[in-house]
Symmetry: C2
Subunit: 684 residues, 2 copies
């Protein structure tokens, strides 16, 4: 018996250690390298950033053993901003941060076994910023990965533990490794309290942890702060007292955080206060803040996401509001524009503002958190969505005036350029809830650094770093290829099972997870309902934004405006965005609109099912923890894709009055059940 | 304007009348004929039954116009019991009821355009009875079609309205049309109150409505009635006071209801009182009641559904309990035996009691209400289940001793024979909740009349009568064929998505609708849990009832007992009923057990999806009301089949530790979610 017991104990120990070896909770993100290869690093200067670069190279070195490797600061004019040059035995850069970015690039290449060659890499945007929609109570608006990593429930969000500090450092390191150099620490729907002393002191503490990794700290500010936390009666931007209040406040901030980045402002939008409350313009408001920030090189990121409860097509309003203001903003103001004219939908045409502003810098705002793309339940790789937007041609200065070119300074020179991503980061062990949501954080950083990178390259990079077997230093080639394919097809699949052919914003109220094309409510503004957007009736479906409709097409430059305006030339992926189309309309593949809609919804479902099968076939290729997590979430995604399909087809069928084509699977839900289900608080 | 208004009113009237023409709420069941063809019916005798026969023939006549048709009472020895002979211009029978049954058969044949030929039809069983599990508070145990048609919430269930009376007549007519001649009006879990005066008076009122259609009234009685409503201290069947109490009570009943049929008794079963409470046997209990009923030609139907919380295999207990009592029962006692030894599962082998009793008549109890087969949500045609049971060979007197032969008197002569079906009837407009559940009521009647009828014939009969276009007097041939195929495949599909290969009783606790193979609870008896029945472990799955296990196989006659005992000869449909089988066991088709289990579950899901598609393709072939109802229920069935598959495969996979084969669709639910879902009160 004693003998058997001993064997069992040994067996348990072996099992236990195997588990420990394989345990992957996702906390290490794409930074899982761990090397014992020795290297000698030299650098003429030392600083906290350089120290980190050297430390990272020493810990992660996978090049030649005992090599002597140099970090050089020099003035090579081919190297821009925080760019760098990789050489066989050195990294050169103009800035310390450039050396750090070079180090991460080198380590990535070593880890991925990529050829080491000499090349220069310069960032596409000078400011590459995460926007955290974190509230001071620790909740995260549209966050699906736990509470805020910055704020918390204790001590009004002001407590700071050692664990917090370590998390901030880990966060900063992850950002630096992909080139992100700024973070807005609080929600755009901002509490004025953030500018009060205790919170600024906490911001200073956070900034201390971010600074060594080159991450600048920014804050979202409430336009009414002078009233809400100052003792002023109003926040009128032309009021000298108000102006002085902001100047004093900015001074106070810079005393605490000398490298503070600036403000992000959501003003006169969805109930937020703004200059229009005092009869002033966005220019008046932005410039007031810009004047306060300018002495410290701070910037104002003024959000263009504004719309009023007016009869005007919501998608037209931002353009109409801001175009007349072009040229009136201070040089340190930049307009932050969401990729599409509506609101982070599964698919939108690009916002016409990108091609509209001539004298005002514009920065894209992408949403990394999956508000409208499945929360952290669904595997949707967003890089293809952003790539689609960046590569969209605005025709601002003729062909080739892509959104990328309109924003990265290549089309017109600006003092600075910027890009923002709404973070998907929370307190969850793996940071983002879904393992594959880490890929969206990663992809945002990589695209912010190089807006010409292809999504498929980013996907492969991320897969290898995230899942590579640390011991063997290799990843199953089939796993990489298959997972890359899943990622590349995932956003198209989501568009298909949610809102194909240009449909948009038919989500359930509030949670934005499930479908509710039926959603309509006389008590709220029309443009917060689904029926406003799809306009389905017995004649057809879609929002007429042609010249006979809202005329939104004319916010685009020719030839785009005519292309969009014309039913036959409008790209089918935007069809119902721009047109109210008869059910019998023939698409290019010969299907009528109703049939094609059905086939697209079904295709979305089938695609997720194929992802499931592909994933299940790879059981054993990676650690069992993350395998099981993804497997489980794909099941839910598959179920929910079917719910989307059934809800939309059964709802729209009431108008089309046509049979669902027999080549596709029948609905397995009834409309009434789905209406109840998606209303449920548990369903999101 | 007036003109337009008038046109609109006319249009509305046209629409309205079209709706009325097409409206089919299912209340008419299979009795939708409505003829204006004149006929002259003569009969030498008159009675309320004859009046009905004549009236039915007059109202439904679709034969030659102005024909003279005769109803003859004569003593043709080839006509048995309430049988009849159909001739070109006459129906002959020994009894008035025989004439009525002949009339319904004739009308059915006319309605279905079947050739009119001379033939005799005799009933397989003399008593063809519906068991209503209706409680006096108006609820129906395992009822899915609304409340009781006999009892209600008002006046302690004693109220009687004109509407009630009409409903009872309509109910009686429907039964008579398919040969049913008895109804137990209350739940086998009987309230003693049913034998109190006010309730007996209501029973008498119901009987008045059933009598003209030849339906005898029976009651379920509580064995403790002498204590509960009499003033006796005990209900000991050997106590003369108790015996007298029953004699007096029976006399009282027959004074009110002279053609009263008798008692149905559930004693010493699932908490019901019985003779064993006083140390007596089932014989003592049954005979006491039989003695009281004998003077009035009443019978006792004593249920054999008994089992104790003992370590003995539950499926063996009824046999062990009753076999020693064979021959000791009075002649007017019959044992009522459920088709299988467990409890109305999707598939069970026949109960060994059918082949066991030599001197005691045995009657089959089938469950028409779909307690374990999807309530009134799922389309499951049960005729094939009953046919499978009736045709099962018990080998009692060698080959050919089918369950049918063991119970219909053809194997050994008995004073009377009987068959019971637990009704699926409620207050819903269409009586049964699901339109297709009407087919199960219909099929039970038809099989009770003729236990050699084939299910596919019954299905076709029912489809044509139920859906035939009344105006055109024809049914779309494709509709009949396709619907017949759906019905014929439906029970096999349900077995596959619920409990293939002999699995049984892995339902969710309480509602018996959804899956809960995980269900286990230390606080209740083991044989009320799922794990007791499937016994899945890492070695395999299934209940070992071989001679090395519980030995239940030996309750069957040879060669069956050896056939079942031997893994290689055991029919695969009963595999896991009789064997604990290794996951790697190879089935006859070459698949290992786990793979086959997965494929079967998936096949069940795919089958329901095919039913959906088949049904949807027939849109327009029948009225839109019932089409939409069935379409909607098929959706739910499809969704729930998938839930069954996912729950069972994911649960059993924990033991098999094998991959779900890649040729089938992956689960779209997670086990945890399903455990919560099937626990939910809304999910049944």
């Amino acid at each position: 018996m004693a003998y058997i017991k001993r064997i069992m104990i040994i067996a348990l120990l072996i099992l236990g250690s195997a588990t420990i070896l394989k345990a992957e909770d996702g906390h290490a993100l794409w930074l899982r390298s761990n090397s014992r290869v020795k290297v000698s690093i030299s650098c003429p200067v030392r600083s906290s950033i350089i120290d980190i670069a050297i430390d990272e190279l020493r810990k992660g070195w996978l090049g030649k053993e005992n090599m002597v490797f140099k970090l050089n600061l020099n003035k090579n004019p081919a190297i821009k901003g925080d760019g760098f040059q990789l050489e066989e035995s050195a990294i050169s850069a103009q800035t310390e941060l450039g050396l750090l970015y070079g180090a991460y690039e080198l380590l990535r290449r070593q880890y991925l076994n990529l050829p080491q060659r000499k090349f220069i890499s310069n960032p596409s945007y000078s400011r590459r910023i995460l926007n955290h929609w974190d509230n001071l109570d620790g909740s995260v608006e549209r966050g699906y990965a736990g509470g805020s990593i910055f704020w918390g429930e204790k001590e009004n969000g002001l407590s700071i533990t050692e664990q917090d500090k370590e998390k901030w450092s880990a966060y900063a390191r992850a950002n630096a490794s992909i080139g992100i150099n700024g973070a807005v620490l609080n929600n755009v729907n901002a509490s004025a309290k953030i500018l009060s002393k205790p919170y600024l002191e906490k911001v200073s503490a956070i900034a201390q942890r971010l600074r060594p990794y080159g991450i600048k700290t920014y804050l979202s500010v409430n336009f009414s702060s002078p009233v809400l936390i100052g003792k002023l009666k109003k926040a009128d931007p032309l009021d000298p007292q108000v102006q002085q209040w902001w100047k004093d406040k900015v001074k106070e901030i810079y005393a605490l955080i000398p490298d503070f980045g600036g403000f992000l402002v959501k003003a006169n939008s969805e109930g937020q206060p703004g200059p229009q409350d005092y009869g002033r313009t966005h220019v008046d408001g932005a410039n007031m803040m810009a004047d306060a920030l300018a002495p410290f090189n701070g910037i104002v990121m003024w959000r263009a996401f504004v719309y009023n409860p007016s009869p005007e097509d919501r998608t037209k309003q931002a353009y109409k509001e801001f175009l007349p203001l072009d040229g009136a903003f201070r040089k340190n103001v930049i307009l932050q524009v969401k990729n599409g004219p509506l609101d982070f939908q599964p698919r939108e045409p690009f916002s016409p503002l990108f091609g509209a502003m001539s004298k005002t810098p514009v920065m894209p705002e992408f949403q990394i958190t999956q508000e409208y793309l499945g929360g952290s339940r669904q595997l949707v790789f967003l890089s293809t969505l952003w790539e689609e937007c960046l590569n969209s041609d605005t025709y601002k200065n003729g062909k080739g005036s892509t959104v990328a070119a309109c924003t990265d300074g290549s089309l017109s020179k600006t003092d600075f350029t910027a890009i923002a991503g709404v973070a998907n980061i929370g307190n969850d062990v793996n940071w983002t809830g879904h393992t594959f949501a880490q890929a969206n954080w990663y992809a945002f950083g990589r695209l912010a650094w190089n807006n010409k990178l292809e999504s498929k390259v980013i996907a492969a990079e991320w897969i290898k770093q995230t899942f590579l077997d640390k011991k063997e230093r290799k990843t199953d080639a089939n796993f990489v290829k298959t997972t890359q394919r899943i990622m590349m097809e995932s956003r198209g699949a989501a568009v298909d099972y949610m809102m194909p052919l240009g449909l948009h914003h038919i989500f359930a109220e509030g949670h934005h997870y499930g479908p509710a094309p039926w959603f309509s409510n006389d008590k709220i503004r029309a443009d917060w309902t689904s029926v406003y957007y799809h306009k389905a009736d017995t004649a057809g479906i879609g929002f007429d934004r042609t010249r006979r409709g809202s005329g939104a097409v004319d916010q685009y430059h020719e030839p785009l405006s005519s292309t969009f305006n014309n039913l036959s030339s409008c790209p089918e992926m935007y069809l119902l965005w721009f047109h109210h189309v008869p059910w019998s309309y023939r698409l290019k593949n010969g299907n009528d609109l109703w049939t094609e809609l059905c086939i697209r919804y079904d295709h979305g479902v089938q695609a997720v099912r194929s992802f499931q099968k592909d994933w299940d076939r790879m059981n054993g290729a990676i650690d069992s923890e993350r395998f099981a997590e993804v497997q489980s979430k794909l099941r839910t995604q598959s179920r929910d894709a079917q719910i989307w399909k059934d809800a939309c087809l059964l709802y729209f069928q009431q108008f089309s009055k046509r049979e669902i084509p027999f080549e596709i699977e029948r609905p397995v839900h009834n409309l009434g059940t789905l209406k109840e289900l998606t209303k449920s608080k548990d369903y999101h």
